[in-house]
């Protein structure tokens, strides 16, 4: 039995028919085809599926799509504006905070939410707070650097990092 839900995804209104068992991550990936949100585990440990729900980071594998009725969801696809990377995305690039890119969307979404909650972070804070996101490529060294740089960038506004604007 399908259920109708209405919500906002990356700033645009969405109304969709979903099966009640559908997880948010399945809804995003399979129905909306927003495949930037990844699935890396089945126990809500890896954080690759992290998105923002009403501005707060959530693991989208751990929430039913029906629970998002009326909410605002931001995925990794909604972070850059007009092709210009968000300061956190730019910092990940500048610091080589990504290698295979698979954990990256979740890392970036966790990090942006973290900085919004706690703008003045130490390295130890970042390491403790990123506990819910696994990366197997980087040893976290450059991710931690990127989050600290991204935090500074978010503070001073996107302008500081505008030179990192690139096109694929």
């Amino acid at each position: 039995m399908a259920i109708s839900i209405s919500l906002t995804v990356n700033g645009a209104p969405v109304t969709a028919e979903i099966e009640p068992h559908t997880l948010l991550v399945q809804f995003l990936r399979d129905q909306l085809r927003l495949t930037g949100t990844h699935i890396g585990c089945d126990t809500a440990q890896c954080g690759a599926c992290t998105v923002h729900l009403n501005g707060r980071a959530v693991k989208s594998c751990n929430i039913l799509a029906v629970q998002t009725e009326g909410t605002e969801i931001t995925t990794i696809e909604g972070l850059a504006k007009d092709g210009e990377l968000h300061p956190m995305q730019a910092a990940f690039r500048a610091c080589h905070g990504l290698q295979c890119g698979f954990c990256t969307p979740g890392m970036v979404m966790s990090a942006t939410s973290l900085v919004q909650r706690q703008p003045d972070l130490t390295e130890a804070d970042v390491r403790a707070q990123l506990d819910g996101n696994l990366c197997r490529c980087t040893g976290y060294h450059n991710i931690v650097k990127a989050v600290l740089k991204g935090a500074a960038g978010m503070k001073s506004g996107a302008a500081a990092l505008a030179t990192d604007k690139v096109t694929a």
């Binding site: 699935i39 890119g101 197997r136």
Partner: protein, 793 residues
């Protein structure tokens, strides 16, 4: 606007070209791909480690809503689908070839590990496939399981394969046994260690995935797969399993989310889906759930070793003797047999001039997931043996750990080791000296004192590793049992207006080839980086390839590109000579400009490419139009990255908790193209190596053969809070002498060098408490127990 390219490009930390798509969610991994008429597959896997399959009843599953097909091992056997091949033949000391029992794509007489594939359900949706798989009835006759590496070959154990009653795949020997035994007989001191190299689960964050389709238009297959070497996958699947012409099989490895070795291999799921796609005449996709990955991805390491080092009274090494039992798991995975042999015992010389070495390796079958290459593959195991022995010997002989290494370093190159390798170049003294400086070893005593005043223990551990990378000279590999060549292929296609597409057989799954290789090409041709595109991971577009593993991409793949660039330059000079009305020998090429030597007569690179494709004023009688060259490069030797790692730990003796205070890595990778990327590779390797040393351990229940560490709730993956920031430096280094870029490879060094440094450091911290040995991982419980055991009267 793109910033101007740095000059020179080689050696510049250029930001990565691939990052934009990954950072904006535009990467395309296998599971992201949905094809028209897509179907979804779920495997029924054995819940038992060892069981006879008496019957499989799929009738109810076939009737389940949405089900397209259900297949079993019997269906595949009836269709003459072959078993999965092993790519490396090892011979035992008695001259017999290794035991190679069949590796069926789906088990149909016996299941041999928890997770062995028993049936395949394909449905319109994943949910329907999952519902249907529950309806399959399998009648199992459960058998005793053999799990423990050390005892797998003991008399009375169950036989994993009926045709191998003692579970021994091979007993392989390497080195001069008589000379080694003779040296031990006259040694002043012998250091002996019993070592368990803990079994690990690779855990690339992208689970394996396959999406296979068959085309009725030309009876061909296209397979998207999370894989590190699509041409190897194609070769093995087409030639050895499905008996297809390779021309009918296209393998595409799109964006791949990490591999670390685990995505080298030809897996059963890849074959089963490809075969099934023609049966159902629709595309079929399977993506591993994480818990499924734990019981189906090849695992790593799993050695049990007795190691001995013989020395004279001055701590000069006389000989090394190593006996290892290596777990192969239930079946021989693609390169499993080479890992504890060719990639292991050949590295036992390390950085030292040990004159005699003998190693004997017994490989055993067990009712566990197959074990194969995982980041470092054999070389971390060898390095762990060597560096634990060396540091233990230093402690036993009251020698400074740096000093004992200096006394034994190889100092003249080329150097032929007693285990079959010839190191072309190196400078071990310099990397060690730099590591001592960066780690502030001089200040350690004061830091140790400060820790002790806080009730803690502090230790310093060293590891001076060497590895053999750049796999491999094909003729040498062939003589050692490889059933494949190990060259690399590349093609450089210059387009009419001067931009370039490079097709490489190497594959990037995080290594950043799209940037590093582009730097090589842009530097050589004197064109902007933005004019170079790197294409990898598609047998339909790339001439050939052996893929990415063994830190080979820049050393072998990069060299193939360099060879193709040689051909491009040579032809371009001839075109320039024609246009400039000069002799080809008089044409110089620098920074993208062709010049008649000693004159101001020049042509830009784009003038030449345009002339090649619009050959109106062109020497058509002597030269073909076009500017597109390919090359195969077969290395003449391995490359030998080496380095010195120093780990400083603080241990809380009350809880056993160990924290790394500083980790210093100085590596000699020869020439470095992109230091930012290279250091990133080291960081990642360190994360995995420290993970092995302190956190990770794959555990099977000894009686039932159940995997106890089968999820991220149970298997300790390193998290950000578990690791320190690293001090990493790539030494100026000794360029490789036998490849055109002078590069050695950097992908595995961190994972190879770091585990012994960590354990040596913890043992240094605990030495005053009487702790002499510790097995990985050094969890708080193990460390605490070791301290308590040492203090028992």
């Amino acid at each position: 606007m793109n910033a101007p390219d740095p000059h020179p490009l080689i050696g510049a930390s250029v930001q990565r070209k691939e990052d934009y798509r990954f950072l904006t969610g535009n990467g395309q991994y296998t599971d992201d791909i949905v094809l028209p008429q897509q179907t979804y597959a779920v495997f029924l896997r054995s819940p038992y480690a060892h069981a006879r399959i008496k019957s499989v009843d799929t009738a109810a599953a076939k009737q389940s809503p949405g089900v397209v097909a259900v297949f079993t091992g019997a269906d595949m056997a009836a269709d003459s689908v072959g078993g999965l091949p092993c790519g490396w033949l090892i011979h035992s000391v008695d001259g017999k070839p290794m035991n190679e029992p069949p590796h069926p794509v789906m088990a149909h007489t016996k299941a041999r590990h928890v997770g062995d594939q028993v049936a395949l359900v394909i449905a319109r949706s994943l949910k329907e496939a999952k519902d249907a798989v529950e309806l399959i009835e399998v009648d199992y006759d459960v058998l005793p399981a053999v799990v423990d590496t050390a005892h797998a070959a003991d008399p009375g154990q169950a036989a994993v394969h009926d045709e191998v009653p003692d579970n021994v795949c091979y007993t392989w020997g390497h080195g001069d046994k008589a000379a080694t035994d003779a040296a031990f007989a006259k040694a002043a001191h012998v250091t002996t260690l019993d070592i368990v190299n803990n079994r690990l689960i690779p855990n690339a964050i992208e689970p394996r995935a396959v999406n296979a389709s068959w085309s009725p238009q030309d009876d061909s297959y296209t397979v998207y797969v999370a894989n590190q070497n699509p041409h190897v996958e194609r070769l093995l699947m087409a030639a050895f399993v499905l008996s297809l012409p390779e021309s009918k099989l296209r393998v595409i490895a799109p964006d791949v989310g990490g591999g670390f070795g685990s995505k080298i291999f030809l897996y059963a799921e890849d074959v089963a889906l490809t075969w099934a796609s023609k049966k159902i005449r629709r595309p079929v996709k399977w993506t591993a759930e994480r818990s499924e990955a734990f019981i189906s991805d090849a695992h790593g390491r799993d050695h049990v070793t007795k190691a001995e080092l013989a020395m004279d009274a001055d701590g000069k090494f006389l000989a090394m003797r190593v006996h290892t039992i290596a777990n192969m798991g239930a079946y021989l995975s693609t390169f499993a047999s080479s890992v504890p042999t060719i990639l292991y015992a050949t590295l036992l010389a390390g950085q030292y001039a040990t004159p005699a070495i003998y190693a004997e390796v017994k490989a055993v079958f067990t009712n566990t997931v197959p074990v194969d290459a995982y980041r470092g593959a054999g070389r971390p195991e060898a390095t762990y043996v060597v560096e634990r022995l060396v540091e233990t010997a230093a402690r036993e002989m009251n020698l400074d750990p740096a000093e004992i290494r200096r006394r034994n370093f190889i100092r003249t190159f080329p150097y032929a080791t007693p285990v079959g390798l010839t190191y072309d170049t190196g400078d071990y003294e310099t990397t060690l000296a730099r590591a001592l400086e960066l780690a502030d070893v001089k200040g350690f005593a004061a830091r140790r004192q400060a820790s002790e005043q806080n009730g803690k223990r502090r230790g310093l551990g060293y590891s001076c590793y060497i590895e053999a990378c750049g796999l491999a000279p094909s003729n040498i590999a062939g003589a050692l049992g490889a059933r494949a060549g190990l060259f690399e292929a590349g093609e450089v296609r210059v387009h009419p207006t001067g931009s370039v597409t490079v097709f490489t057989g190497s594959h990037s799954h995080g290594q950043g080839h799209e940037t590093t290789f582009a730097q090589v090409v842009a530097d050589r041709l004197g064109i902007p980086l933005s004019n170079v595109e790197i294409v990898h991971g598609d047998t339909g577009r790339i001439p050939f390839g052996m893929g990415t593993y063994g830190s080979r991409s820049i050393a072998v793949g990069g060299s193939a590109i360099m060879k193709a660039l040689d051909k491009i330059e040579s032809k371009a000079k001839k075109i320039a000579a024609h246009l400039l009305e000069a002799a080809a020998e008089d044409i110089e090429f620098k920074d993208g400009v062709f010049r008649v030597a000693g004159t101001d007569r020049t042509k830009a690179f784009a003038d030449i490419s345009l002339a090649a494709y619009v050959p109106h004023n062109y020497p058509l009688d002597k030269l073909e139009p076009g500017l597109d060259e390919s090359a195969f490069y077969d290395p003449t030797n391995f490359t030998y990255p080496a380095g010195s790692y120093i780990c400083e730990v603080e241990v809380d003796p009350d809880t056993g908790e160990c924290r790394i205070q500083q980790f210093t890595a100085v590596d000699d990778f020869g020439n470095v193209i992109n230091p930012m990327i290279v250091e990133g590779q080291v960081h990642g390797g360190l994360g995995q190596g420290i993970g092995q040393a302190m956190l990770e351990r794959c555990v099977y229940d000894n009686d039932s053969g159940q995997l106890l560490s089968g999820s991220y709730m149970d298997y300790a993956m390193p998290r950000a809070s578990d690791l320190p920031s690293f001090t990493v430096e790539t030494a100026k280094g000794t360029p490789c002498t036998h490849n055109p870029l002078g590069v050695k490879g950097c992908g595995e060094a961190g994972a190879i060098g770091s585990p012994p440094a960590v354990i040596n450091a913890i043992l240094d911290a605990l030495a005053p408490l009487g702790v002499k040995d510790l097995q990985m991982p050094a969890t708080p419980h193990r460390v605490w127990s070791a301290i308590r055991a040492a203090q028992q009267p």
